[in-house]
Amino acid sequence: MGGFLNLNRRHFLQGTAAAAIAGTTGIRLAQAADVTIGIVYVGPRDDYGWNQAHAVAAKALQGVSGVKVVEEENVPETDACAKTMESMINLDGAKIVLGTSFGYYAPFMVDMAKKYPAVQLRHAAPLWTPKDPKNLGSYFGYLNQAHFVDGVAAGLSTKSNKLGFVAAKPIASVLSNINSFLLGAKSTNPNATVQVIFTGDWSLPVREAEATNALVDAGCDVVTCHVDGPKVVIETAEKRGAKTCGHNASQAPLAPKGFITGAEYKWITIYKSYAEDLAGGKALPNMVSGGYEADMVANSPFGAGCTPEGKKAAEAAIAGLKAKKPIYTAGLKDNKGKVVMDKTYDNLDPYLDKMDYLLEGVVGSIT
């Protein structure tokens, strides 16, 4: 019996010693890189959508020397995200943490910024105001510019002149994408209309498939979307023989026959600048935003669904956006007949961030 106990104690001591050594080496490894960047995702990294767009940039960032990236996926918008960020700061030595989901910001990232003033926190939506902590900030891209380009190409790739849009919620950023898609299509095809169906939430695959089918049944021969993971919409439309425009990340592999092009974020532009600023000891900007003019959005490579004229017009539209050509011009009306653009607005004008209407030419209602 005594021998048994002795053996046990020895094993215990060996075990704790091993654990201690392994623990310290873990910390050393984390500190070996010059800058550790933590990235937190709300869903899986391979969702063909929002999360993947960030993960693609994270992967590209790993190639930059002196940068170590730590990632965590499927982190809900509860105190779990605060704890994840804290864990990255405390256990991984992260110098900057990027929260990529809307609901992470308040109260969680604001609290973390107050608690860890030496750490930089950046959030992927335009929520930071000068009242918030100075080590916190926002970054985002004007994806509606890329949706405008989608519309330009779609307008010349449709036969029925009916375009379909599967949207999650009638909030400003979604409405702006729908309206820009419509204006793009109208710029090349004055007869084009956009029919929109709201599913009600960010990720409802069954309803997204139903909405896609309903749009195709209603005569739409091009379908695009603004939901978290566009995979279901793109695949369903492809199966029904409709053409598609993507959203967030590249869905080209999902639709070899009907893919036209898609609106993509180019987060790597921002992430690289953060890493460079941190490595160089420079202060990080609190607010970074932009569209084509700042290389922060892009369009997916044109697919088999795009006509040559569509491609040509889309490329011209991209050149226009890079030169800050405005999308929203004076006199535009909403689909109830009220003039909503009293003048021509710059593409980054804050007035456009408050959009709560669908433009004339969109079939659908936000209430």
């Binding site: 918008e77 704890k83 990255m88």
Partner: protein, 374 residues
């Protein structure tokens, strides 16, 4: 005669000493078998890791470091287990009367929403925070209680399967919250995330002194202890157990089975509703879609693993919290997908449920026989 008594587990020569030894043996059984099951699931999971080419030693070391190893990790674990204790109680209490209620998520959402909605006039009217919290908590418990109480009533009065109805009620609850949050009660200053008006810093329920954990943990532990006393030491608890064992026999004895069912369901709903209150008052500061975080569903696992014993729910919830808390570190350090932790949870669940068949099979845990049983 002695033989029958032995089989029932009540030896005839029942001295106090003997009684104590039986209790110790029984408790030992309830601790040893789950521990054995945990060890088995750890071994099985190690094979899974080896198949992926990862080191099990690294994995379990990270679980310990990420879940319990540092003061930060431990608080992380406790914070994550706080809502699970309450939602597990929402499963365990009806289970004692033989109902499988899996709609705690709905009661949590409805409770949290009620608390947030009711708080708006009080915050606007600058009521004292303490009174506001009290009213919010009572409202959350009441609404949650009524929500699951409906399930119990439907079960008793109309024979509606409580498992299905409670699950479906969850979706109705989420839809009701979304309806108001995106409509009448929407905070218009927040255009991109439909939410109710925020409570503001003055009305946020703080952390427990000296910790980073909110008061939901303390309330959960106290409720678990109170409910254990209620179920094990009172005539109400006895009646519940009789009705849970055999409802017809209980009716024949004159027990108000229907009333007991509805009360158990209301207690359950109140626990989940309180979890919703803490999510709103201590964490989110408002009601929105983030309330639907799956705590109600994880609570089902916790309650089953704890064999519906309120006291056992506390350590099991903390174990779950620890696994989830370390999940992030595992993703980051071992480059494993998030689903790895789900595999561990699933394996543990299956093995623990299987281990239920082991109870009563080991002589060492059984009351000593009096000798005439050969």
């Amino acid at each position: 005669m002695a033989e029958i008594a032995n089989q029932l587990g009540t030896p005839l020569a029942g001295t106090r000493m003997n009684d104590l030894s039986i209790r110790v043996r029984r408790s030992a059984e309830y601790i040893a078998i789950p521990l054995f099951a945990l060890a088995v699931s750890a071994v099985l999971f190690s094979f899974f890791l080896l198949a992926l080419g990862k080191s099990p030693a690294d994995f379990f070391q990270l679980v310990i470091r990420g879940g319990f190893g540092t003061a930060f990790s431990l608080q992380n674990t406790l914070q994550r287990s706080a809502p699970l204790i309450l939602t597990a109680l929402a499963v365990a209490v009806p289970a004692r009367i033989g109902l499988v209620i899996i709609g705690g998520e709905g009661a949590l959402v409805m409770g949290g929403f009620a608390a947030a909605a009711l708080a708006i006039p009080m915050v606007v009217g600058h009521w004292p925070p303490l009174l506001t919290w009290l009213i919010m908590a009572i409202a959350a418990a009441l609404v949650g209680g009524i929500w699951i109480g409906i399930v119990g009533y439907l079960r008793h009065a109309r024979g509606v399967n409580e498992t299905i109805s409670s699950l479906l009620m969850t979706y109705i609850g989420i839809a009701i919250m979304n309806f108001f949050v995106e409509g009448a009660l929407r905070d218009l200053t927040n255009p991109n995330k439909p939410s109710t008006m925020p409570l503001g810093d003055d009305y946020m329920l703080g952390k427990m002194p000296g910790t980073d954990v909110h008061w939901g943990l303390a309330v959960g532990i106290i409720l678990a202890i109170l409910l254990q006393i209620l179920l094990a030491r009172t005539t109400f608890g006895f009646a519940v157990r009789v009705a849970g064992g055999n409802a017809r026999a209980a009716l024949a004895q004159g027990l108000p089975v229907g009333k007991l069912i509805v009360i158990c369901c209301m207690i359950a709903g109140a626990c989940a509703g309180l979890a919703g209150f803490f999510e709103v008052a201590a964490i989110q500061g408002r009601a929105n879609a983030s309330l639907v975080a799956g705590y109600g569903f994880t609570g089902i696992l916790v309650a089953f693993l704890a064999r519906h014993n309120p006291i056992a729910i506390i350590p099991v919830a903390i174990m779950f919290g620890g696994i989830v808390a370390s999940g992030g570190l595992i993703q980051r350090r071992m480059d494993l997908p998030d689903a790895t932790v789900l595999v561990l949870q699933g394996l543990t669940f299956v093995v623990l449920l299987t281990s239920e068949t082991l109870y009563g099979r080991f002589k060492i845990f059984q009351p000593p026989t009096t000798g005439d049983r050969t």
